[in-house]
Subunit: 545 residues, 2 copies
């Protein structure tokens, strides 16, 4: 007789059925039994060096697959992924955080079990601050329902959830084999939707120069094709934000560039800020995406629709889903524009070639990368000038650019490349990371070598925290110099390159492209050099410190 299965089996089956194939983490005794179940399941376990790496890898994986999972032990594991989970919350990445925990029966006399902080629910209390739902699967009668409740919240909000597994419960038989639909998909109110679309169409058709700002929710809610339909039908030009970069193929003739207030390109800034109808779809308006609030967007001229807030001019709406709005808008009678079709917007220039013996500049590096990138690559930019410089890269495929341009946690990119590669095996990650960020999580290159992944990691090596130097400098912004290119010898795999001149960069890039291994290119830069975007941001940053 087939049993209904255990709590552990059920969770594993559900993760698999939702598209997860890899689970990231570091084992520990409170989660060891579940690791054993995972290792015998269809899911593949990916061991990172530190839990932080697992958290970032799962975040990247979730952004690309629509769901990701990190699995850790109690306390010493769980509390190490608080920061990565906070990032997933802030930037809407649907990560399932699974933590082992002391068994229900072990807790009876309230003993001082190792890894415990204050109470047995301290960790869960903390995760309630940074997830949209949490559950401790401490009862076989309710485990299915609880699992479904938190997964429903994950999909509804595209934000992380927390599942705690007391170790003596994972083999408990559940009372119910298959889950019922634990929640009903939220639907838009049709009457409100009609009113909203009507007002929006009126504003758009009456405008001289409408423009779209497409945000990260377009990607998170899987609306990239719907956006494209709308753009193709109307020819309204579209900008992204720094956080949503690559929401649309950047060679698309209606794509204008990244809008970032005065920190972005002047052409995009002028176009957007002189528009009489700005259609903002699914974008978080953060300080960085607004160029440290240098952006001048007039609410009277704005249609603003996200999963959290909807307005047309000063009229607020509720009960309408972003996805329904975009589809309804596309179907409505919006007059197509023609004047911009076929006319390319000013673009960042491609490589100007290279000069032997010339020191590499930030400008040269990013221009060179623009001709290096192919549509089989995914760019992952860490925080700092790795990100600011990347704004001008031309990304050929949708979602082929990842960054943490809002929460901005240094050290994301290297471990993210692990998650990205496993989520999208046909894409080769190109990682751009500053030397400061690399010192935080660069040892995950070991994990990359272990699982034979093939990212090309460019370390933008300028000896310090550049973005901070321009705000307020001191020796606290200095870094110990590392011989990055020799790390391949430490970890026993991959290729290392140490480059200072344009011709050295040229041959390193050529060799890396040909190689099928992980490659790390240590790009030595002038400590005073910086991207144009960072120069434009300087004032906004410095006046706030």
């Amino acid at each position: 007789m087939k049993t209904a299965g255990t709590i552990g089996d059920y969770l594993i089956d559900r993760l698999y059925s939702l598209g997860i194939r890899h689970v990231f983490g570091v084992p520990g005794d409170y989660v060891l039994g579940f690791y054993d179940m995972l290792s015998k399941s269809r899911l593949e376990l990916i061991n990172t060096c530190d839990e932080q790496g697992a958290g970032f890898a799962a975040d990247a994986y979730a952004r690309l697959k629509g769901i990701g999972a990190v699995c850790v032990t109690y306390g010493v594991g769980g509390l190490k992924v608080v920061n990565t989970t906070a990032q997933a919350y802030a930037e809407k990445s649907p990560v399932v955080v699974i933590s082992g925990a002391p068994g229900v029966r072990e807790r009876e006399k309230n003993p001082l079990l190792h890894h415990r902080v204050r109470d047995f629910d301290t960790q869960k209390n903390i995760f309630e601050e940074i997830t949209v739902a949490s559950a401790a699967l401490d009862d076989a009668q309710t485990a299915v329902q609880e699992t479904e409740r938190v997964l429903a919240a994950l999909f509804r909000f595209k934000r992380p959830v927390y599942i705690e597994l007391p170790r003596d419960m994972i083999s408990s038989e559940i009372s119910q084999h298959r889950h019922k639909a634990a929640y009903r998909e939220k639907r838009s109110d049709q009457v409100v939707l009609n009113e909203l679309v009507g007002e929006a169409v009126g504003m758009i058709n009456g405008a001289e120069k409408p423009v779209i700002i497409a945000g990260e929710e377009i990607h998170r809610f899987g609306l990239q094709n719907q956006l494209l339909d709308f753009v193709n039908k109307t020819n309204i030009p579209v900008a992204s934000t720094v956080l949503s970069k690559s929401v649309i193929n950047e060679l698309h003739s209606s794509y204008m560039g990244v809008y970032q207030g005065a920190a972005g390109h002047e052409f995009v800034q002028n176009y957007v800020e002189s528009s009489d109808c700005i259609i903002i779809l699914g974008a978080l308006l953060t300080d960085l995406s607004l160029g440290m609030f240098s952006a001048k967007i007039d609410q009277a001229k704005t249609i603003y629709v996200t999963s959290e807030r909807i307005s047309v001019g000063y009229h607020l709406y509720e009960k309408v889903l972003l996805q329904d709005f975009i589809v309804a808008l596309t179907r409505s009678k919006i007059k197509p524009r023609s004047y911009l079709t076929g006319k390319p917007y000013p673009r960042y220039s491609y490589s100007p070639g290279f000069a032997r013996g010339h020191r590499i500049t930030i400008k040269h590096l990013f221009e060179r990368l623009n001709s290096f990138l192919t549509d089989e690559m995914i760019v992952i930019a860490d925080v700092g000038d790795a990100l600011f410089g990347s704004i001008d890269l031309i990304i050929r495929g949708k979602t082929q650019f990842l960054s943490t341009a809002y929460y901005a946690s240094l050290g994301f990119a290297v471990p993210a490349s692990i998650g990205a590669k496993l989520a999208m095996p046909h894409l080769r990650p190109v990682v751009l990371v500053g030397d400061g960020a690399f010192q935080m999580t660069g040892m995950e290159l070991s994990t990359i070598v272990r699982y034979r992944l093939d990212p090309i990691i460019l370390v933008l090596n300028n000896g310090g925290y550049m973005t901070e130097r321009i705000m307020l400098d001191g020796s606290f912004n200095d870094l110990q110099p590392w011989q990055h290119s020799q790390l391949t010898q430490i970890f026993g795999g991959g290729r290392g390159y140490d480059v200072r001149t344009e011709d050295q960069l040229e041959s390193a890039l050529a060799s890396a492209k040909k190689s099928k291994e992980a490659c790390i290119i240590d790009v030595h830069l002038d400590p005073k050099d910086m991207s144009e975007t960072l120069k434009r941001l300087t004032k906004g940053f410095a006046e706030r410190v």
Copy 2:
């Protein structure tokens, strides 16, 4: 006219006056102004690679100096030290966590500032779970009082506190120059103390074979001399726990060894468990200190006094401080014992020499270390067999052994050696760390090189998570092999040794001892080898997974 000073100055002055000389952290924009003040103050800033390293360094520093401080930025910094702060909470280490934060004026319109998670107080809410007091210094009128309130809690409970600094407040003039005594020292109730001591003296004097278990609170509350007075006056033998190891000089004739239930030495176990009066002073009775609950301690025969709970047999007491109890007990009429004086307890053996070409065993390694250690060294053991093997090391000076034997967060030891060295410059750290723990925080060797510190780091390299292998094994317990000894080339300093045989270990230890630099010795061990303590713990561990 001299002003009263700013919030930032006040905090810096108070930290200095309380004995802090070093502050550990990674800068970020929300804390940059305060970093600038710190860098111009009498305090020295120590930059680590990652915030986790700073948190662990500050914890070690706090254990040795009685107070430590870690200073980080908002969100991406603060949330990375949640785990290290949880450890400080669990094991009673008085760490001041200082976090920068968005300015009060920046928050007015509730904008999406970078590094923000949910609300502006999300981070503070989280720290309230893992500290004994927290304050946001957002008001110059109350900043002094708030600072004093949290510092008072730190000293009363010997646990971490949290101070948040909105960046636009650090230069605000405080309203009061000097702090008043913000709290009154708690005192014991004399009547209760007399009753307690009376009952305790009765039980001790009536006993055949009393024994003391001295815990980590003896160290945290600065009671090591008082304990010694009591031991010297009464000749009652004393054991430590795994967490309190080195609470007393281990060559003291009344010191018996580490009590750890069935996981510890048989002699100590038998002695303690057959005692008719067990005097437990300031010890947390955790699962690890009780040998996974194999300990057999009869409450009827126990005097148990800690900062949190007091009992003699089944009588509970309150309103008495640990320190007052020990002093009063020492002054009371306890009859001295004589039979054990001068008779050494069975001790772990010293090095048996070495044999050329012999593979190094765990047993040999720790025996060898027993003759390597001097009283100018401090041993720092990471979690796993680095800790379990260390239980048999003979530590010559008080507080010359550090570990996290309760919270047990892997990766503590390498960054802890930074804090330990700066707190106790006359001691040379000897770090024992497994390869798994090293992969988490070993890059802080870069920080060690940067600040020219001189630890001797022994990596116990057995290719996996040994403590987990014995519970439940799978490929998830494997590690990518690293060439640890070559890391000195990456970081540009220190000496590396790769040793497989006893004679290689011999010459590496000799060379390291002579050198004044950081040294890393990669000790290759048989993956199946383990310490006697770990063997004894195996059953208790495995049956709980």
